[in-house]
């Protein structure tokens, strides 16, 4: 198959994974103003937990959902027990989430050792599907599809439901949202758990492609940061577009300038920062 097509498919797959990861990050950042530097760790933790779950006989999809739930429960604890005390203390939030990410990374290294673990592709999705005369790896297509489905579901959740309206109100004006009787504090926990779940789930379904290894967290986190900076925080559309932009840049950058892949990745971010500091789809914040 044509190299460019392969690269494009890989880019879309990575974009899909990044969307799941960064949508949560962006929501948490947009609603709670918390730069959750443990988000990469949630991704890795989800994947590691799933490897153990699968080893205990669960099938892939159950493991993905349960692994995500376990990460979400952990995220909820972190939010309730630690981050809750640090409202409006940015520096403290940065330090705590960073400190937690170091602890999680070290615990993962201890429990699952330093060897990369590959999650087996679910058997139904092995092999290739041919679309328009070209064969595509089925699993990668599935990931792209999952990302699109999640994008639609999240959009519907935020834009069409009562919960979504409350979250949007909380993003726009938390003080006023409280006044009209929205329990912003509970919203915070819900959003944090949702974000953590998305990250953990993304880690699991990314497993068959990326494998899980120590350092995966520190590799994914900057990508999520770039997505959010590119797309603008708190914007779902921004996350979606940003993810695919980053997915393409990362894969094509690696293929064309392997030594400078990182620079290629960060250049557009820098351009966006200079031209439009609030991100492509972010709103101007006072």
């Amino acid at each position: 198959m044509n190299l460019w097509v392969v690269l494009a498919v890989n880019s879309i797959t990575l974009g899909g994974l990044l969307f799941l990861l960064s949508a949560g990050f962006s929501l948490i950042f947009g609603l709670m103003k918390i730069p959750n530097l443990t988000h990469g760790s949630f991704f890795m933790l989800g994947a590691y937990l799933a490897t153990s779950l699968i080893a205990h006989g669960l099938d892939f999809w159950t493991a993905a959902i349960v692994g995500g739930l376990m990460v979400a429960a952990f995220g909820g604890l972190v939010e309730r027990l630690i981050l809750r005390r640090l409202v409006n203390a940015e520096l403290a939030q940065v330090l705590v989430t960073l400190g937690l990410s170091f602890m999680i990374a070290d615990v993962c290294l201890m429990v699952w050792t330093g060897d990369p673990i590959r999650i087996a592709t679910p058997s139904a999705l092995r092999g290739a599907t041919s679309v328009m005369g070209l064969g595509f790896p089925t699993y990668r297509l599935a990931i792209s599809l999952i990302a699109v489905v999640f994008a639609v579901v999240l959009w519907a959740l935020l834009d069409r439901t009562r919960l979504g309206a409350m979250i949007r109100a909380g993003v726009d004006d938390p003080a006023m949202a409280r006044v009209v009787g929205i329990r912003v504090s509970r919203l915070f926990t819900i959003v944090f758990c949702l974000g953590a779940w998305l990250a953990g789930f993304a880690g699991v379904i990314g497993g068959p492609i990326l494998s899980v290894y120590p350092g995966l967290d520190q590799e994914m986190l900057p990508l999520a940061l770039v997505v959010v900076i590119l797309g603008g925080s708190g914007s779902l559309l921004g996350s979606l577009v940003g993810s695919f932009v980053v997915g393409f840049l990362y894969n094509f950058g690696q293929a064309m300038f392997p030594e400078l892949a990182y620079v290629v990745l960060f250049l557009p971010m820098l351009v966006v920062l200079v031209v439009r500091p609030q991100g492509l789809f972010g709103r101007q914040v006072a």
């Binding site: 950042f29 103003k33 730069p35 530097l37 630690i82 005390r85 640090l86 203390a89 940015e90 520096l91 403290a92 940065v94 330090l95 705590v96 960073l98 400190g99 937690l100 990410s101 170091f102 602890m103 999680i104 990374a105 070290d106 615990v107 201890m110 520190q218 986190l221 900057p222 940061l225 770039v226 959010v228 900076i229 392997p258 030594e259 400078l260 892949a261 990182y262 620079v263 990745l265 960060f266 971010m269 820098l270 920062l273 200079v274 500091p277």
Partner: protein, 318 residues
């Protein structure tokens, strides 16, 4: 009294190699000193300017890498030091222009990204940086014909640079410029209304901070005679920030105490357990939850409270 304490501290610092016993401890003290310089540099931004940078290991590393490259190209130490510091300043200027597009969390995120770019280049651009294997250099400089190969002489050289750094910080804090930097932290809008160029003040503070980070990076290079991507990893930036926070932001003594704490814990902890990163993370969380203002101010506060608690009892007894 202050002068006597200062003089005493100086004498103690200057004579460390004579009484501390064992090159191991002399080397650890050297490490504390150059990490303290780094922490002081980070503190200019994180403490006085209220801009938390998680990309400073990038600047620290650029100085080290630049120094190593220039030296391996066969130049003398004067060129190495001047060139590395000039490059670091240039990089700091670029970092500053980009990072100052945001303040608060935006600033943090941009510096994380910038730091990761430097890491990515160090790790991936193998033809220049030798990738994961890092670059080794062949020797320490010998200014005025004095060799710095022995731990004690290297310690003294580091001490001189350290004292210069501390003096420059003291001057900076007391200067009108230092006051204006604190002004941009506390009341950026009012400073603007008063006719100060807030952006320029922050930019200059960034350069000042970057300069000392670069100096520390060079000392690191000379100390280890080796530099690798590990040096510029996010962990390194976080460690520097931990030193500042642990000791107490926007104090002169805080970053120094913090650097001592981190270096000692790191060396002691890594002697007994492998899980240094876990300890580091736990210290982060612990400090933020229990002593949010840092060890030095935190201890002072507890001490004062303890004294205050003692005093009424003393008067009641008398």
């Amino acid at each position: 009294v202050k002068r006597i304490v200062l003089l005493g501290a100086l004498v103690i610092l200057a004579t460390v190699p004579l009484w501390v016993g064992g090159t191991y401890y002399v080397n650890i003290t050297s490490q504390i000193l150059f990490y303290a310089i780094f922490a002081l540099g980070v503190n200019v931004l994180a403490g006085y300017a209220g801009l938390v940078s998680l990309g400073h290991a990038g600047l620290f590393g650029i100085a080290a890498y630049a120094g190593a490259k220039i030296m391996n190209d066969g130049y003398g130490h004067v060129v190495v030091i001047a060139g590395a510091l000039a490059l670091t300043l240039l990089a700091a200027a670029v970092f500053a222009v980009l990072a100052l597009r945001g303040t608060g969390l935006g600033f943090v995120m941009i510096t994380v990204a910038l730091g990761q770019i430097v890491w990515g280049v160090a790790y991936r651009w193998i033809s220049i940086t030798n990738g994961d294997n890092g670059i080794a250099i062949r020797g320490r400089p010998s200014p005025l014909g004095l060799s710095l190969t022995s731990p004690a002489s290297f310690y003294w050289a580091t001490l001189i640079v350290f004292l210069l750094a501390v003096t420059s910080m003291a001057v900076f804090v007391a200067s009108p410029f230092g006051a204006s930097v604190r002004g941009t932290r506390d009341q950026p809008r009012r400073m603007n209304a008063l006719g100060y160029h807030v952006w320029m003040i922050r930019f200059l503070a960034f350069l000042f901070s970057g300069f000392w980070s670069g100096v520390a990076g060079l000392l690191y290079l000379y100390y280890n005679q080796f530099v690798s991507p590990q040096t510029v990893a996010l962990t390194a930036s976080a460690e520097a920030l931990l030193m500042v926070i642990a000791g107490g932001t926007a104090t002169l003594l805080g970053p120094i105490a913090g650097a001592a704490l981190v270096v000692i814990v790191k060396n002691v902890a890594s002697a007994y357990i492998e899980r240094w990163n876990f300890v580091l993370g736990a210290i982060f969380v612990g400090i933020v939850v229990f002593m949010p203002e840092g060890l030095v101010p935190g201890t002072v506060r507890r001490w004062r409270r303890a004294m205050a608690a003692l005093r009424p009892r003393a008067t009641a007894a008398g």
